[in-house]
Amino acid sequence: MAAFPSAKNVPVDFKDKTFLVIDDIIGVRSSMRITISTLGGVKIDMAANAADAFNKIERRSYDIILCDYSLGDAKDGQQLLEELKRRRLIKSATIFMMVTAERSYEKVVSAVELAPDDYLIKPFSGEVLRLRLERLVNKKSFLAPIFDLMERQEFRQAVQVCDQRLQAAGPYLLDLLRLKGELLLLVSDFAAARQVYEHILTMREIPWARMGLAKAQFFEENFEAAAEGFQQIVADHPRYMSAYDWLAKTHSALGDEAAAQRVLMEAVAKSPRILQRQKDLGETAYHNEDLDTAQDAFESVLEFGKFSAFAEPEDYANLSRVFLEKGEYTQALSVMTNARKAFENSDEVMLHAAVMDSMIHDKAGDKAAAEQAFGAARELFEGAAKKPESVALDMVRACYQHGDQTMGEKIAQNLVKNNHDNAAVLKRTEQMFQRMGLHDQGKELIHTSSREVIALNNRAVKLAQAGDLKGSVELLMQAADQLGNNNVVVLNAAHAILTYIGQTGWDEELALAVRGYLDAVKQRDPEHKKYLMLATVYKDLAAKFGVQQ
């Protein structure tokens, strides 16, 4: 193994490094260019604002980005960094250094959640810049083997390399522990992740470590402890926004939707422009029958979403449903009219609109229009390639309203079977039946349908335990073919096949099925924990049996 770099700086040749300087003042840009060239840097690009920076970063990958915190009146450097990370435009190996005047220093260091690699307070000398950059280059090259493995999604090996490097971590101890914790969460080894974070917290109270610990506890379903952890972060670091989202999620898991709504409202008040958070708030408030808050939140989603590609037909349906519940039928209809316009009568929006229209006309007492819309909705729903859960739920309700109980039941059963372990979907389904005055009937349907899936899984497990791996695989593959949208069922089938392959050797036909299952889940949820774990197992097996990928 190569010798580890020590804390002493290894001199860095900046000649080969690509630099991007982001500053709104031209004089500062040119003096930065001079400073960088005294360090030996020659590949230097300049950007005058955030938009300019995005353009350049999309076209070329940079080794070192020096960004001023204040970029005129549009976005500041922190917002730029956050968006770059959200859009995955900068790699882990890229150095992002924030340059700040003393005035904004505290804003820079209070960004505990998505911090730059380092910051420099103006004025600084070229020598200090060199020292800081050399250190960061050394650190990134120390961590590079781990970043490489992560990029190739070989998370288990990445954890092993973390462990090796932890033997002589020196100044990178905390960086390695942080990476290890994140990796363990990714591969769903929650107990080990918890131990890493607990270990860090015995050294020091660090917000990201507290966050990691609470997440591990959440996934271990120790919701009380998780809630306590997220609460502590929110209290100590009110700007740590994702802690609010997790706290709300934990309250929901504990069944306290009122508390979840309170936390989301607090977060939205601090940072309103995050669409997902507004959606969560809208859904939680709708659940809590706080229709005014739900309306505000869904309206914000549409308003902020207007300028990005993130709004969906579903968002319009969400708002329309609130107006329907409030008895404001004209409003409810006009929202769906706007939706058709916004999405140019796409199949997806037409389905949403037809379902909503049929329910609205029905409530408003216009039976003829309701029948017509329902007919269209039924046709569109049967032909739809994708049936998102929200539209399926609305469709169930429309079916019951129009007396087509058989179809409503069938759709509801399928929805439950495909989401039998998704507590949020089951809760929404139950509530919808409750709204229709069919609470008991709904509970019964949910119970029976999810039992069916669970029983099937249990049969497969029994077969496997009895030594009939092949039989278990066949049963689970049958189930996966019937319930292709159910991540749990599909991944169970993939898991069983991989175990079978591990014991009996490579079988290309079965491997092909696994790839299909994994791809299907990846499309729906690229960060699904079990998917990531099984993708790693698949790669390991392929390597073990010498199969070319």
Partner: protein, 236 residues
């Protein structure tokens, strides 16, 4: 003595500390512009032609930098007292920090013909607010520079679970009354210039570093390795 506008007797009046802090900030910004102008002047060719001009400009730069650092400490103390200071505790190597301090002091050493040695093994790490600790050490080194004869030493080591950073010089040492009364003296002296403000800042900033029931502190003594004054900073 009461100062008009300083209490709650006058409705709507600004409190004096805030007024003072806001103006200190402005003064510091103006000083920054002034220092930029000096920097520009010293890059002119006449500055290198006339050694006396260069020495005068260097003196201006050093003096200005020290005033600026003093104002920075004053503002930091103000923010700490208001409970606004955003502490940025992270994991750093002591060697890295000492290297930076040396880099910043280097230009001043030549004029005073003082040699500074930095000693720290690579294995000394700690959790601290880098900017704050840098401020503490710069202050201590500046003080040492005022009294040192030939040598200053800067070193870091782990001591009883604390990260200890020492600044020692070969000067006459702290006067006995400073050692006897310690921090109380530092507070006393604050109004009178001298080292009072710096020591008060250092003690306050050190104490903000807390870990598992322990707080940071500073200690003054004489008769170190260089037989002069020794300033020690302890971080838990």
């Amino acid at each position: 003595m009461t100062i008009a506008g300083g209490g709650d007797k006058v409705p709507g009046a600004l409190d004096f500390a805030t007024l003072f802090a806001a103006n200190t900030h402005e003064i510091k910004n103006q000083l920054f512009l002034l220092l930029n102008a000096v920097e520009q002047a010293s890059r002119e060719h006449w500055a290198s032609e006339y050694p006396s001009a260069r020495i005068a400009l260097d003196g201006l730069k050093q003096g200005g930098t020290q005033i600026s650092q003093r104002l920075t400490r004053l503002l930091a103390l103000y923010r700490i007292s208001q409970g606004h200071y955003q502490l940025d505790i992270a994991y750093h190597g002591a060697a890295e920090l000492l290297e930076e301090v040396l880099l910043e002091i280097q230009p001043l050493l030549g004029a005073r013909a003082v040699e500074m040695t930095v000693a720290s093994t690579d294995e000394v790490y700690g959790f601290f607010d880098r900017e704050m600790v840098r401020g503490i050490l710069l202050n201590a080194v500046h003080n040492a520079l005022n009294v040192a004869v030939r040598k200053i030493s800067l070193n870091a080591a782990m001591e009883d679970g604390y990260l200890c950073i020492r600044v020692a010089d070969d000067g006459p040492g702290f006067p006995p009354q400073v050692l006897e009364t310690g921090m109380a003296q530092a507070k006393w002296n604050m109004g009178g210039g001298g080292t009072g403000l710096g020591l008060h800042f250092s003690a306050t900033a050190a104490a903000l570093h807390r870990n598992q029931g322990n707080s940071g502190f500073i200690r003054l003594s004489n008769e170190g390795a260089l037989r002069g004054a020794v300033f020690s900073l302890y971080l838990p």
